[in-house]
Each structure stands twice: as structure tokens, then as C-alpha cells.
Amino acid sequence: MIQLSDAILSLVLLSVLLSLSSNRLMGLVRIMAFQGILVSLVPLFLDQHQGIGAGSILFLQIMILIKGILIPGFMYIAVNKVKMRTEVEPFVGYHASLFTGLAFIVISAYITERLNISLPGGHALLLITAITTMASGLFLLMARRKAITQVIGYLMMENGIYLVGAALAKESHTQYVVEFGVLLDLLVGVMIMGIVLHNINSAFDDVDTALLGRLKD
């Protein structure tokens, strides 16, 4: 099982790197769907989640539904509907982004080493993945022009945080009602962002954040 979880985590890492170097919006959305499903699966393969009860199975399905289908689907619609140019338009170039992603991996490996905490089950890779995902999400938020890529960055960060939660928290704390609430927030958040994006597009004829710089002192 451990190997399997490692494999999934590697795939997550790969998706992160791919998203950094991706230059197509549609591609990005697909990567996000892929990543969402992977991330949802992670708890399934972790040691501390021994007893998989009916609740967790149900929750797993809901999570895959939201993270892997609903949210990416919603964004897919958004991208299509606003008919934005499909270029990602980075501030930081794709190669540089990629290298930054690699640097994130190195740094998070170093941090994980330094933290040296007795993680339940010694999931060093999990933590590395989580930190990298988070950092890359923040990086996408900062380094891309298009508003929609920022949403994707936000989602990626959220995924990273979820991974951290999965890595660190014991099962005893996991309360599905609460987790569902978190997911719901995420979903509604993305929907709201989508609506705002839609409005921005109709008001500005573009979703370039460079246009969103009027309010300043």
C-alpha cells in the first residue's frame, strides 16, 4: 500500500509541475481535475486511515465528485463561456516556472528534513508534496496574469493544504460533517469566483488582471 500511496503522491507532484509549465488554459483545467481526484484518493492509502467505514467511502465519493468533476467542470464552463484567449500569459516564463517548481520540491524536502517531526507513518513524501503543492499554488497566484489561472492557483494551494491535513491529522479528528463543510466552501468559492469572472469579462472584455488595477492610492 505504501508504494501505491507514493506513486499517487508522485503523480500529484507531476501534476503540479505540469501545471506550472502548461501554457493552455484548458490544459490547466484538465490537470486540476486530475490533481483533484488524486488528492482525494490520498487518504485512502494512508496508514492511519485503517478502518475505512461507510462514512469515509461516501465522503470519498463526494470529494471526488466535487474536486475532480464539479469544480473543474465549472471552470471548464467558465473558460468556454467567457471565450477568453487560451494563452495562460505568465509574468514568469514557463521554463522559469518549472525550475521554480523544482526548487520548491528541493526546499520542501529540506523543510521536511528540518522539521523532523514524528509523522504518523513517516510520510516524508506526503509532506514534501503538500508543501510543494501549496507553494506552487501561491506561485501561480502571483506569477500569472489571467484571473482564471489565479483561481487554479488557489485550488492548488487548497489541495496542498488538504494534503497537509491528511498527512498530519489523526483520523480521530476527522469529522466528515466538518470536512464536507470545508469542501462546500471551496465549491461555493469557486462558483462565486466564476460568477465574478464572468462579470469581469463582460465588463472589461477580458479577464487580464492587469486591467484590475484601478483601485489604488
Binding site: L141, T209, K216
Partner: protein, 652 residues
Amino acid sequence: MDTFFLSLAVIVCGGVLPLVMHRHFTIMKAGCCVLIAAGCMLGLFDALSLLLHPAVAATYTLPWLHIFTLSFQMDSISAFFLVPIFLISPLAVLYSFHYMEKPEQSFRTAINYFFNAILIVSMALVACADNIPTFALAWEIMSISSYFLVVYDYQNKDTRQAGYLYFIFAQGGAMFLFAAFALIYSYTGSFAFTGFAAIPDTVKLVVFVLAFIGFGSKAGIFPLHIWLPYAHPAAPSHISAVMSGVMIKMGIYGIIRIYALLAVPSMIFGQIVLIVGMVTGVLGVVYALGNQDVKKLLAYSSVENIGIILIGLGVGMIGVATGTDAMAFFGFAGAFMHVFNHSIFKSLLFMGAGAVLHKAKTRSIDQLGGLLKRMPVTGRTFLIGSLAISGLPPFSGFIGEFLIYYASFQGIHLQRTAFILSALAIISLAVIGGLATACFTKVVGLAFLGEPRTDKAAHASEVGFSMQLTMIFLAAACLLIGVLPEPFVRLAFKGIADLPLLGSYNPDIFIDILRNIAKTAALFIALFLVVSLFRKLLYWRKEVSAGPTWGCGFTRPTVRMQYTGTSYAASMIDFYRPFVPVKTLYSGIRKIFPGQTTYHTEVIDVAETNMHEKIVRPLFKLLQMLHWIQHGHIQLYIGYIVLTIVVMLLFL
């Protein structure tokens, strides 16, 4: 203290009444005057009875918001400061009866009366506050109510600026006060005033300096005086009278109170106060001399008098520190006396200036002239006020200054620092006295005497009855105190009775001197009458004719050839040049047949320019530079968050 609170209640009623009745303009004014006057008389009676029959200081406490108590105490110091509050304020309100004569601005006038009443009440409460929250509360109410009084004429841009400046200084000063109080609290753990003496001496010094800055910004010490020359001209004149005559004295009250509470016989307090007082006094009067705007000049003159009062206090404090009882006693008594006197003659002068402004529609000395003939009562009372403020016998100003001189002379026998400081105090008093004479001869001589320089001045006429009445009353008070100083000086002695550290000094010797001074004054007046009679005799049945002024050979002198205030002061200002720069705007003569040219000079307040150039401007520049923080780019905004995380994790 029941009488005291009753009087305050009556005053508040007097303030609220106009708000309710503002549709009936005259009734509103009359009702307000009557109520405020009644309240003030009651309060004055209470304060005086406490002063004259010293009993245990009256106290009153009231729980407030579960954690505070509102605590009031009326001891001799409070009672003494209440006297000018309750004496001058009703007169100012009475004065305003004819001064505020625009029925179309009825509601605004009502608001002015309301805040006037609030100001009176809050000043009285400041004087009686007996713990930190009470004091802070009363102090802030005083600041904000006086602010509204200053901006009465808000359509005028200058007024707005003045109000702004005043507002900043009031609140900034309050912050220093809060800091001082908070520092004390951090040692005593109690809001009460009583525990102040228990804190360590070094802390006391810090507390005193903070409080001195805070109170000083209200009182107008150099260089925190810069709001005065703006706020006083901007405010209506009866308000200037109250603010300058009474309100800035609350700053002095604060300094005295904090000194009394800290109760530390250290030389350094006296040194600070004395040196600041000397600088304030001399520069205040020099700036007064250099200004041609009557009310601005009077504002600077207030600064000067605050300087004199501080010299008195400083001398008193040095007396305490060196154990020279007489010096301490008379220093404080002189300061108290001058507080009282200044409140009278300064309000008189402001009312006079207000009368001039009211009728001649200008405040500039260089546009006035010849008003004595046109406004006989205003002119004569203003002359008396000028004599009093110049400290000349037989008028009231002299008495206070004499006490301070007397105290300073007691310090002449001391050694080293104390001696030099006493000597400097005497010299600066002399210089201030001389310059004040120069300054007020200028005002009287140029604004009221000679020929009117403009049509505005030429068409001035005497002001309304209530205004005349108050000015006559105050002028009479100036003369009365000068001729019969004893009861008033005894009042000042009673006032300082509750100051700690003073020892028990018996001022009987001084009372003898005082009687002699009174006799001298009386003798002078008698002599004056005799000589006048003699002069009358000499002119008996003689030909007395009138003709034009001798123009030194110039046959057609015009009124515009009269000496102006600017030239009158020019050489004296020149003497103090490094501290009193003069800005000259001269258009020059360019063409062969020169057209109209302009020449304008203006005395620059170094405190103001330096504060503006060295502090405010760079600060503004810095703040403007920092505006890029909010640049509008969301990516960098998120960058801020990331940066914060990184920094915080580094300091984890």
C-alpha cells in the same frame, strides 16, 4: 460641592436653551446670557467662599462605567482657577449679546452659545478633576467644544485652517497627557491623583516633561504656540477672550497641578519651566511686536504672558528646590496673580479688538487709526488694557509682575545656577516689559490714535451697549487691582495655600510692601490730578487753537503718510533677527515710468516654519512615497501575504 454642580447645571441649561429657542433670536441670547451669568455667579460665589474660608477641600465622587470613578475635588488651587473661569466667561457671553447680531444665523449662534456653555463647564471640571479619567474626560470635552467655537465662521478658509491647526495641537497635546498619566498609572496602579508622589524620581521627570508638553501645547509655550496666532483671530472675539483669557490658563493649571501632585523638590523642574518661560515670553512679545493683525498680535501677547507666568512658576519651583521659602511663595503667588490679571486684561483687549473688527471690518493695524474719537469707550478701555498688559502701574498687570520680580530677587542671594537663573528671569522680565510697552504703544498709537488710514476705519462707530459695559467693567477691574491690590494678592496667597512643598511662609512683610505700592499708586494718581489741575490753571483764559499737525515743512501731508505698524516695529524686529526672520515681498521698479509697485513684509514665526519645513513636509513626503504600497496589483498583494509568512516563520 453641591453649589458648584448646581452652577454647572445652570450653565448647561443656559447652553441648551438657545438650541431649543433659536427661532427667537433676541430672547434666546438674553436667556442664555442670564442663565450663564447666573450659573457663573453661583460658581464664583462657591469658589470665592472656599478660597476665603479655607475648609477641608470639598470632594465628590461618582462611580463610572464600573472601573472608574468620576472624582472631583475643589482645593485652593482649583478654586483660584475657577475664579477667572466664572468671572470672564459670563462677561464674554454678555459681550456677545451685541457682538452676535445676525438673526439670519440664529441657529449657528445658538450652537455657538451651546458650545460656549460646554466650554465653561468643561473648564470648571478640569479645574476640579481629581483623578486621571475625570481629568482626561474634562480635558477632551474642553478641547472639542473650543474647537467648535473656533470654527464658528467656517466659510472662511483661514478659519478652517486655524481650526484644523488647533484641533491637531489639542489632540496631540492630549495624547502626551494621556502618556504622562499612563506612565504614572504604570507605577501606581491606581487612577487616583493622590498616589503620584510615590513614583520614582527619574520617572517623575519623564512624567513632568510629557505633561509639560501636553499642557504646554494648550497653554502655548514656545514652540507649541503656533496654533494660537491662528485660532484666536479666527474665533469670534468673545470666544478669543475666553480662550486666551481663561482656556489657555488651564494648561498652566495642569502644569501647576502635576507639579503639586508629583511633589518633588527638584531643581530640574524649575529649570525647565523657567527657561521655557523666558524663551516663550521674549519671543512671544517680539512676534507680537512684529504682527500687524490686532488679534494675532494679542494672541502672541498671550504667548508672552504665558511666558511670564511660567517664569513665575519656574522661579517658584527653584525656590522650592533651594529651600528659599520666600522665593517659592512669591514665585507661585506671582504666577497665580498674573493668571488672574491676564485673564482680565487679555479678555478686555480681545473684546476691544473684537469691537474694532466689528465696526471697522479689519484687523490690520496698518488700516486703522483715529478710532479713539470714533469709538470713545472702546478706545479708552483698550488703552487701559494696554497699560495693564504692559505691566505699568497703577494698573493690574504690574502687581503680578512685581510679585514675580520680588520672588526672583529673593533668588539673587543664591549660588551658581539658581543665581544665574534668577538673574536671567529678572532680565527677561525687564526685556519683556519693555517690549510689551513698545508693542502696545504700537497698537494704541496706530490703531486708535492719529488719523484713520482707510475709509473703513474712518466710518467706524461705537459698539453696542452690552459690549461697552463689559469692557468698562474689565477696565475698571484693571485699575482697581492696580490701586487696591491687597485683597487680590491675598486671594492669590490663598490660592497657593494647598500647594505642597511650600512650607509655611508668612507673607506679612510683603503685605506691607503691597500697601506701600498701593499708596504709591494712589500718590501717583493724586499727583496726576494735581498736575492736571495745574495744567488747567495754566490754560485758564488762554487762547487754545486747533490746526493741522506740523508736517516738518511738508505742506500737504496725507493720512497715508502716517507711520505704519510695520515700520514702527521694523528696527526692533531687526534686533532679534535670527529668531524673527522677516519675509519681504517687493515687486521692485522695472520700467522707466514705474507703475504701481507693492511692498509687503511679514514676520515669520521660526517655530512654525521650522515645524513645517523640518518635520511636517518631510513626513508628508515620506508618507506620499509609501503610497505605492497600495498599487492595485493583486499578484503583489498575495506576495505581501507570502512575504509575511516567510518573515513570521523566520522569527518563529
